[in-house]
Amino acid sequence: MEAGKSHQNQVKSSVNDEKQGGQMMSAPSFSLESSGASQGGDGGGGAIDAKNDTHQSIRSAMAQDAKSSDAVFDAGIKDFKSSQNGESTSKSTDSSFVEDCKCKGGEAVEAPKTGEKGGKEEPVKTPDVIAEAPKVVLPTINFGAVNSATTPAGMSHRIPPRVNTAVQVTVAGYDAAVGDIELFVENAVAANGIAQIDGAATKKMNATGSVNLSGTTQTAPGNGGKLVLAARVKGVVIARSAAFSVSSIPQDWTTTFVSLITGPKRGFVVQDGFSSDSGVFADLDQTMISEEVQYGVGTGTFAAVAGSNSGYIAGNVLTTDSHSTPVGLLSGVGSIEAQQTCIFKDLRAGDSDIPLRNSGYKITRDVTETAVGSGKFQLTTHKYGAAATANGHFSNAAAGDVSKTQLA
């Protein structure tokens, strides 16, 4: 009987609502329930719960689908229980489930009519026999992070343009009665960036699987993190991924020998190289790169050298590196080691000081006598790829190995 009381209260509320709307309500109906809160698959790709207002919207959408049934959906009739034969109405397909409610439940239960001309408002009658109404349960959708494998740690989620980024989509509790689940990229306009799902703007996905996202328009600077991979049913969003951007980033530093430094200095010049994770160098036009160099403790003639270097320049420009030592310093033995890495700014995603993947080098200088007691010295400058940390930024080994020995 408790159930009956509860039902009675809910119906009253519903009736009052209908009075305000000046419409008549008929029952029975069904209830919608979420199958549970959805969460991101990896901690970063959180989904947003389907809320009550989502239920309401989907109910409305379904009601429109089932106009012929005279069914009206309302939150106040949640858990309304069809009576008469005591059977629990099963879930039904989208196109016919409202009618199923009537038929399977036996005789339809008329909700109290109120506000009729000349009529007297009657108390709501509680059905004698309680039966379960059909429940259409929303699926739970979990999105993995929409984040390229090339994104360094510490950076916000992003995908490069042109290149596919796989995103895991987990669908649980799907009931065909709710209709197709459609994936799309929310807020996809030119300023925020545009991405496609398996080569199209939308994708039907009613079961767990993986989709490939690929950026077609990069996010404009200042608009990072506004894109969301979302799932909707009948136009109503029921889950969202964590936010992401479309941007290309630099990676995989290289070094190749260009020329020796002569005259008042010794050392060499190398050509820097790096690539865009989108595969197109020009995509890096909204990035900036800073080499970071930090010196260790020098010995002998290098004992006075200390400190570190830094400096951002445009990320779509390839430059040379100079590694020079004044001849005046080569009057005695000594050595020093420096570590070099790179960091970058991504003005599209809005991230700064991000370690550039595979940009680590060690640079050593060794001054030795050409022969013991000769009083003549030579400098060996050596730059080679190695895991390195400079000014607090770590990176794995870059590519390249250049070593040159010169007389002072």
């Binding site: 190289g273 197109v280 080499e291 390839l318 590196d321 100079s322 070099q340 640079i363």
Partner: protein, 197 residues
Amino acid sequence: MWRSSLLSFIVLLIVYAAGCHPAIHLMKEESGKDHTPTQDPNGYAWRGYRERVGDEWHELPNEDTKCLREYSTSNSKGKWSQDRRISILTDHLTAKVGETIKIFHVFEDRSIGQELYIMGPKLVYGVWTDGKCTSAVPEGLAEYPFTLIYDGRTLPSPGWDYNFAFTTVSFNAIGKHEVVWKIGDLESNQLSISIVE
């Protein structure tokens, strides 16, 4: 006869130049990882200014670097010496007694193809205040980039390098005070700073 043969040869050369060289160029662009070296089209670009405090690096806000960012339109710069010059800039030509004043340093090279050692911040020596040198230039540091050794990226001139540690000065006497930067054969403009109560 030989004239027609020579003409044919020249025509063939032109055809080769027009038809083959672009193809070769295209192949180079398509192969490898788009590593075709390019030159910075603007050696005068603003690249931000990072200050190092101990092991920490901080980007100075724009309001603290206004004079640097407006360098190109400044009327107060050093004199050219073999297409190079050094300049000092400040946003505080008037300050109070004891107030700390930041002075920024710029090296500029208007010749083509010289190296600009744009990494830093490089320590600055050779600053003179009221006729006295406050930071003597160590031996071997009189040539740009004014460092013992250099490891890092360079940009081709023409352009500027402002990645020097800023100098701070303060004055305890009211009146005009002069600041100038001298290193090697270069001498900057002179800043005349008014100190008031």
